[in-house]
């Protein structure tokens, strides 16, 4: 696993909503090495404050050496990123972590909520590359409202996998949560569910999977300093009260291996 620290030029800055932004970054080596579910650590400015890099999932890569990230402004670091301009550079470090494990022999159901949609595009694209037949596959995406989810769909619609959408306020797709949608569909037995989103959402996704004895891979978050297994700061409670480190053991885990307090 190779990691690179690149001074990435911002190729495109897209303000999707008030708070949601998509950045396209020129990062030759990271783009070439990245796998779905991996993430990058980005310095949000040149100053020592904020000091630490911020982790973001890789939304998609391109053969022209670019990656995209999709993020929401939630604090100081992301607010700074929201002020960067096309043509400027950002220090990007990655790709980091263990991504999703794709078994081409199995059906796939991808469930992304909020910013958890980010890694799902990259994953879906890779699944389409690896599998001949994606008829039994499905993508469920959720967001607060139409404006949060609609701009993201174009890229998904290019793919050969069916997409279902749910919004909290019903302004687009089904009214409700992705987990409500999940309940209404019958997943094939030999299926893997891949999910990323708010903790409570992933917990419910896992609960449903466990009931149906379906494999469930989750991409989780934690605070991070190094993103590469050096600081041991990003631990999370796993089964049997053991600790795992999100950046190096994850961020994708088999949901079975984590502690969900179900």
């Amino acid at each position: 696993m190779s990691q690179y620290q690149e001074n990435a030029t911002i190729i495109r800055f897209e303000q999707l909503t008030d708070t949601n932004i998509r950045l396209t970054l020129q990062t030759e080596e990271i783009a070439a090495a990245a796998k779905p579910g991996q993430f990058v650590m980005i310095r949000t400015g040149k100053s020592k404050d904020p000091l630490l890099r911020r982790p973001f999932s890789i939304h998609q890569t391109s053969s022209s050496g670019r990656i995209q990230i999709l993020f929401k402004v939630t604090g100081r670091g992301t607010a700074l990123l929201a002020h960067c301009k096309e043509g400027e550079t950002l220090s990007v470090f990655g790709p980091l972590g263990h991504g999703f494990h794709i078994d081409p022999a199995k059906a796939a159901c991808l469930i992304g909520g909020g910013m958890g949609v980010a890694p799902m595009l990259f994953l879906a694209k890779r699944i389409c590359q690896m599998k001949k037949d994606t008829d039994t596959d499905l993508i469920i995406l959720g967001g607060r409202n139409r404006s949060e989810i609609e701009p993201l769909l174009a890229d998904f619609h290019f793919l050969d996998i069916g997409v279902m959408v749910a919004t909290d306020d019903g302004s687009y797709g089904r009214h409700g949560l992705v987990t409500d949608v999940m309940k209404t569909i019958s997943l094939p037995d030999n299926c893997t569910v891949y999910t990323c989103g708010p903790h409570l959402m992933m917990k419910e996704v896992f609960r449903q999977c466990r009931k149906k004895k379906i494999e469930c891979q989750v991409s989780v978050e934690s605070v991070m300093a190094c993103g590469m297994g050096a600081c041991l700061g990003c631990n999370m409670v796993a089964k049997n009260s053991r600790y795992v480190h999100v950046c190096s053991d994850g961020p994708v885990f088999n949901a079975e291996d984590l502690e969900w307090n179900l």
Partner: protein
């Protein structure tokens, strides 16, 4: 990734820590560089003065519950809780790789009692590839009511003595900054036989979340590191270097060659790069490159000319 060309004239960056000769004064700080392997494809490990590995205890420790880290203004708090695999697994699982990296490996050790330090030393001293021992004395002495070894000169000296008695390796004692008079502790460990002191470990700090009305670290308190603490570290290095005759290794907020050279002026023989590794994983090698450039540009015969060269009239 940048490639580094060989330079001519080859500048003299060598420094000595006890009997240990370093090709340059740049080490990595314990707990911030993993077991070196994590950085292998980012840093040319053989170009570093040495690596100090994550603190090792006699038995494996799970460390503290999450959250363990939190960013502060120009710094970070950590309460890793000394998570480590324990000395036995360290020797079997980590040392084989470290043996091959062609740079001195300094093992940082920690214990809850004098006996633990003794056993750790006995085990490590016979392991091929261990170049020196760095003794972390910021840990609580369980038998003495949890007061840190590093906050009492007698306890600090006692730990130092027991480590020295059980090894032929150079012994570096890593000092805690959370004391009234760090020179006094430095003096005590020098008298007890330490070959060098390294400082500073983290300052004890805390962060509070107004929304949840809870501490931001599960452990409530943690260790402050990063650029925020550099002025305190520099002052302590300056004070200690004037109080002891053994080499001083400067640590605290060092990010660049300029920072490192400032510590050397204040009296440090070598430096360690800590938190900066997280922000720029290539920081340690870049500090080596920057010091190399400086020594060439300033036409120094050796980087050693910088040690303690601060002009205070």
């Amino acid at each position: 990734m940048e490639f580094v060309e060989d330079r001519d004239p080859f500048p003299d960056l060598r420094v000595k820590i006890g009997t240990l000769e370093l090709q340059n004064p740049v080490l990595t700080a314990s707990g911030t560089f993993g077991y070196a392997r994590e950085f292998a494809n980012l840093v040319n490990l053989y170009r570093l003065g040495g690596v100090v590995v994550k603190g090792i205890s006699l038995f494996p420790r799970p460390g503290n519950p999450p959250p363990r880290i939190i960013e502060t203004s120009c710094g970070m708090l950590n309460a890793i809780g000394l998570e480590n695999v324990g000395v036995d697994r360290f020797i079997t699982e980590k040392m084989p790789y470290l043996l091959g990296i062609d740079t001195p490996v300094i093992v940082n050790i920690l214990g809850d009692s004098i006996e633990e330090y003794k056993h750790l030393t006995e085990k490590l001293t016979v392991v091929p590839g261990v170049s020196a021992i760095e003794v972390n004395i910021s840990c609580p002495n369980v038998k003495k009511g949890g007061v840190a070894f590093g906050s009492d000169p007698d306890m600090a000296a006692a730990v130092t003595s027991v480590v020295k008695e059980n090894t032929h390796l150079p012994v570096i004692v890593k000092l805690s900054p959370n004391v009234t008079d760090i020179s006094q502790i430095a003096w005590a460990v020098q008298q007890a036989g330490a070959d060098a002191v390294s400082l500073i470990n983290t300052l004890v700090g805390m962060a509070v979340d107004l929304k949840t009305k809870r501490p931001r670290l599960a452990n409530i308190i943690g260790g402050l590191s990063g650029p925020a603490i550099k002025p305190v570290a520099l002052r302590m290095v300056y004070q200690v270097a004037r109080s002891v005759s053994i080499p001083v290794i400067g640590i605290g907020g060092i990010e660049t060659a300029e920072d490192a050279l400032e510590f050397m002026l204040a009296g440090a023989t070598a430096v360690q790069i800590g938190t900066a590794n997280f922000i720029n994983p290539r920081a340690s090698e870049e500090v080596v490159e920057g010091i190399t450039d400086y020594v060439i540009r300033e036409k120094l015969h050796s980087v050693r000319e910088m040690i303690g060269a601060l002009d205070t009239e």
